[in-house]
């Protein structure tokens, strides 16, 4: 059987939801970080399928950097749990997700019953612009903003975590 484009997109979307769920439900931070990497990979594939190769590349590169930071922070800041803590954590871990199936069911029912007329606009074909022009001319202010945001983040890590590591 040959799968159509729509079927492939639905399968990717399903995987995306599953990996995202795994990320938030994971037992340890390290597993959550792996889950995030998988989610990001799924998102990249989806963006590529939706004709947004630039966004896909950015998603992959930004997220791989982000995941490295999370890995390093997690490894440097956490200590292994004791057996008693693991037992306690395991007992409570899944209970907080009990309402999730009901929420999904309710949302499904809502969208099934309320037939919203979405009146989608005709998507205008995206102007193919050189990525250099987009980044360095069109979105220069945002790029500077991102740099300041990174500076703030780095500053926060220095202020909040440096002394802790000493302790």
């Amino acid at each position: 059987m040959r799968l159509g484009n729509l079927e492939i997109e639905i399968i990717i979307a399903l995987f995306l939801v599953l990996t995202a769920l795994w990320t938030v439900m994971a037992r340890s931070l390290l597993r959550a970080a792996i889950g995030l990497a998988l989610t990001s990979a799924m998102l990249t594939v989806m963006m590529y399928k939706l004709n947004a190769p630039l966004a896909a590349v950015f998603e992959l590169s930004v997220c791989s950097g982000l995941i490295s930071v999370i890995f390093i922070t997690t490894i440097s800041l956490t200590q292994p749990l004791t057996w008693a803590e693991i037992y306690e954590h395991e007992r409570e871990r899944l209970s907080r997700f009990r309402p999730l199936p009901f929420i999904i069911l309710l949302l499904g029912l809502f969208f099934w019953l309320v037939k919203v007329d979405l009146a989608l606009p005709t998507v205008v074909a995206e102007k193919v612009t050189d990525v250099r022009v987009v980044l360095w001319s069109l979105r220069q202010l945002d790029l500077v903003g991102q740099i300041i945001c990174l500076l703030a983040g780095a500053f926060g890590v220095t202020i909040l975590f440096k002394a802790w590591r000493g302790k």
């Binding site: 919203v116 007329d117 606009p121 979105r139 202010l141 903003g145 300041i148 945001c149 703030a152 500053f155």
Partner: protein, 471 residues
């Protein structure tokens, strides 16, 4: 430029922190003063740099209208005050150095936010301000402060997701992220449910960022658990720039508000005014009481915007400025009291005006202005909002706004009586006035409250009504 200097100073700071923190402080003062001067004595050549290349390298599409200028004035003023007060409140060189650095980042974020002409740039600068705010709240690394910061991070992240979704939906129709393109798309597609959904998501996002009821879960904890200096800065200006300013741009973008949107604004504004005022009545922690009072006052601003007229918008903008002034003053008073008595529990205080006359007097002025007592500035902004609501035939909400002023008066007078009046507690016989770094800014802010109140007849025609006409 300030950010570039910040980077250089930070690189050098590894070896010369004690000397460099004074330079950084001086540079901060100059920046804030220059910002205030550029707004009060506007220079056309400076404010119309929008389309030009600066240094032939940087091309920013920024623009300053009258609303932006008022926001820049409020940012400069509260920023200047916070920087001076920090000198009196923070004793540790490292902490003061860290605060000044984050102050610069937050100031850049807020200035960029009010100057942005593009919804995505607006989002980027909201995030810069938010990241700086998280760290400022957690600065002391005490358990409560970290908890407050964590709650803010969680709520703020949720708001970020909503805003990104809203931007995606709006850009889908507009094809561009500029405010002008989005405003055109909204006008061209009246009654489109996807656009309405985008606008509602945007509204929810800014409601969370402003801490309006029922999205206020983070605000009382963050305000009361944060270090005193952070409370002054964040309550004084950050929440207004990050939450209320995008709301004003929203009203401007949508033009005449569609009924569902107006009803959402009225409901959230009215509920915030009443519920937060009732919650403030039951508080015994000085800063927590002020936090609930902030939510209630922001409700007035939202009601002014919901009136959908130039008068309502002028009232809302004046109330933003007034609120920035009197809330900063009240938080400075709280910081002074905490510094001199070691507690924020108002049930344990009493008669402090005798020992701290400047703090007591300025706090009375700020409290009365909050309650809307004439001729203080808070009275005029509330009056404009109430008249605008009445003119828009929103009689119920106009009545709610009037009656809630009585509640405000109730909790503010209770605060004054418990902290500054009555019999002086034995424990506070040796208490003295806080240092000049806290007294001088308090007097300046109290002077602004009185000056704006008395100079209102001049202010309304020269500044306020022209601003309201941006609708």
């Amino acid at each position: 430029m300030p950010i570039l200097l910040l980077m250089i100073v930070n690189v050098l700071s590894f070896s010369h922190k004690s000397k460099l923190h004074n330079i950084l402080f001086g540079f901060g003062l100059l920046t804030a003063l220059a910002q205030i001067a550029l707004v009060l004595w506007p220079n056309k050549n400076f404010w119309q740099l929008t389309a030009n290349y600066q240094f032939n390298v940087i091309k920013f599409n920024l623009a300053a209208d009258n609303l932006t200028l008022v926001m820049l004035l409020a940012i400069g003023l509260v920023g200047l005050i916070a920087l001076i007060v920090a000198r009196g409140l923070i004793n540790d060189v490292d902490q003061e150095y860290n605060f000044t650095n984050l102050w610069f980042i937050a100031l850049t974020g807020m200035n960029g936010l009010v100057l942005a002409t593009d919804i995505f740039s607006l989002y980027v600068f909201i995030e810069i301000t938010a990241v700086a705010s998280f760290i400022l709240i957690a600065l002391t690394k005490e358990r409560d402060a970290l908890e407050g910061a964590f709650k803010y991070v969680i709520f703020s992240s949720f708001a970020t997701v909503l805003m990104l979704a809203a931007i995606a939906l709006l850009v889908f129709f507009a094809g561009d992220t500029s405010f002008a393109a989005i405003a055109n798309a909204i006008k061209a597609n009246p009654g489109n449910s996807l656009i309405l959904m985008g606008l509602i998501l945007y509204l929810l996002s800014v409601f969370i960022k402003s801490g309006l009821i029922p999205f206020h879960g983070w605000l009382p904890d963050a305000y009361s658990a944060a270090p005193a200096i952070t409370s002054i800065f964040i309550a004084g200006i950050v929440t207004k720039v990050v939450g209320i300013y995008p709301l004003i741009r929203f009203v401007q973008l949508t033009g005449t508000l569609a009924d569902p949107l107006r009803n959402i604004l009225l409901l959230v504004g009215g509920t915030s005014i009443v519920i937060a005022a009732l919650s403030a009545l039951g508080q015994t922690n000085f800063k927590r009481l002020l936090a609930y009072s902030s939510i209630s006052q922001m409700g007035y601003i939202v009601l002014g915007l919901a009136a959908g007229s130039a008068l309502g918008l002028a009232g809302a903008i004046l109330h933003i400025f007034n609120h920035a002034v009197f809330k900063s003053l009240l938080f400075i008073n709280a910081a002074a009291v905490e510094k001199q008595t070691g507690t924020l529990d108002i049930d344990k205080m009493g008669g402090l005006a005798e020992k701290m006359p400047y703090t007591g007097a300025t706090s009375a002025i700020a409290s009365l202005s909050t309650a809307g007592i004439p001729p203080l500035s808070g009275f005029w902004s509330k009056l404009l909002i109430i008249i605008a609501l009445w003119n828009a035939q929103l009689y119920f909400y106009a009545t709610v706004a009037v009656l809630a002023s009585l509640l405000t008066l109730g909790y503010m007078l209770t605060l004054q009586r418990k902290v500054f009046f009555g019999q002086l507690e034995n424990a506070f016989y040796e208490t003295k006035e806080a240092g000049w770094q806290l007294v001088l800014p308090s007097l300046l802010l109290a002077g602004i409250i009185l000056g704006l109140g008395l100079g209102f007849p001049w202010l309304i025609n020269t500044w306020l009504i022209p601003i309201g006409k941006i609708l």
